[in-house]
């Protein structure tokens, strides 16, 4: 498996954050953002090409899940938002 380039990694990171923002649910949205940032930070020190590739492909599948679920969550979003969204 070829190691992903820096641009590819940054693009994956941005895509994940973008789909995170699409969750209407306050808690899921914040979690997806936070988990994305923390995972990339945690994997920053990876140097072995195969583990970088593994982390990258894992991130890509997570992106697929996030994209699908952001749609599902929007379809069934409650009419009334969380008070955490109302007051800010």
């Amino acid at each position: 498996m070829a190691s992903p380039s820096r641009t590819e990694i940054i693009s994956l990171f941005r895509s994940l954050l973008r789909s995170a923002r699409q969750f209407p649910d306050y808690n899921i949205r914040e979690y997806t953002k936070r988990r994305t940032i923390d995972s990339f930070r945690h994997n920053k020190t990876l140097s072995d090409p195969s583990s970088i590739a593994a982390a990258f492909s894992d991130g890509k599948s997570q992106l697929q899940v996030a994209r699908r679920q952001a749609v599902v969550y929007s379809l069934y979003a409650p009419e009334i938002k969380s008070i955490m969204d109302v007051k800010h």
């Binding site: 808690n27 899921i28 996030a66 009334i80 938002k81 969380s82 008070i83 109302v86 007051k87």
Partner: protein, 436 residues
Amino acid sequence: MASKILTTTLRRSLTLKTIPHIRPLSTATAAVTEPSDEISMKGVKISGRPLYLDMQATSPVDPRVLDAMIPYFVSRYGNPHSRTHLYGWESDEAVEVARTQVANLINASAKEIVFTSGATECNNISVKGVMHFYKEKKKHVITTQTEHKCVLDSCRHLQQEGFDVTYLPVKNDGLIDLNELKGAIRSVTGLVSVMAVNNEIGVIQPMEEIGEICKEFNVPFHTDAAQALGKIPIDVNKWNVSLMSLSGHKVYGPKGVGALYMRRRPRIRVEPQMNGGGQERGIRSGTVPTPLVVGMGAACELAMKEMEYDEKRVTKLKDRLLNGIRAKLDGVVVNGSVERRYAGNLNLSFAYVEGESLLMGLKEVAVSSGSACTSASLEPSYVLRALGVDEDMAHTSIRFGIGRFTTEEEIDKAVELTVNQVEKLLTNRFGILKKW
């Protein structure tokens, strides 16, 4: 008189009929009305959906879990017990994968997992099933006073059938005394049942030590680990448990599914509580709900990956909550052991405050006074009473449940709202707010 009754009923039926015209109740028209930011339910008005801090009652389904479940709701609807076609085979395969995922999280073999409808059913199979199976020789059960209602109720049921039950008391910190356990074991003891993490106060019992004692006296050990799964490391061999109850919806999985661990070596046997088609090796007949089981499996696999990360976060948030409240209020007591507890469950009592008004005033925070099963009654929790907590303090207990999706902002908000409400109640009670 008869005509009067007639007119009254007539009028009533007429008004009832006219209601739909005045207030349309169909969802189609409700969607047209402009969205408001207020909810009114059960006479309480709140400006938005409350922030959720009741993770011990149930946890939200993780989107990654839902993603794994949806295919089995949509196109893969086969009965996992169908042997004659692809629909059955693919469902069966999914169920077996889930079984392995659950087994991996507790370091068991997939063959030792039986899927059920939830931890309550597991507890019933364990307590009643084991005792019924060995009833010729074993007549005695040991449990604790702070167990979940379903274990206690199963024990009551056994007592009515003539079995003997010892309800071990707990110390002030909610932990059992190991010497007392040793002393309670008799030659006819057929089961020791102690829960791993308490649902109301979050204390973690010394599982390895209890397992050690049970091994020494050769008594089967059952534990209700519904609140422990995915939160603290579980190893069925280290704990030496013969049976363990697990639940799907406490680990960000779906409701309505649970799993029972049953040791194979040495083998533990139970009498089934449900008879039928012989699914799950005859221990739990009834079609295995593929989507739910897949969800529970996915939730367990996720829990294994995320346990360390979640643990760090939950601990950080717990400290933030406790320090935040303690910085502003005095007379706040943590119920149960401070050292041996799961961080995501913070059970606090507030001195000099009336519990009911406190909870009623905290409508924007979804918390509970204890177990969801018993929170309808005004009685203080039997768990806190077993700890020897004062009647007053037991009445003002609030359980804050922190989980994977809780944020710092929510904690800050919860602190602010709780502090405001407690100060308001103190002012109402004592006139001026006394700084202690």
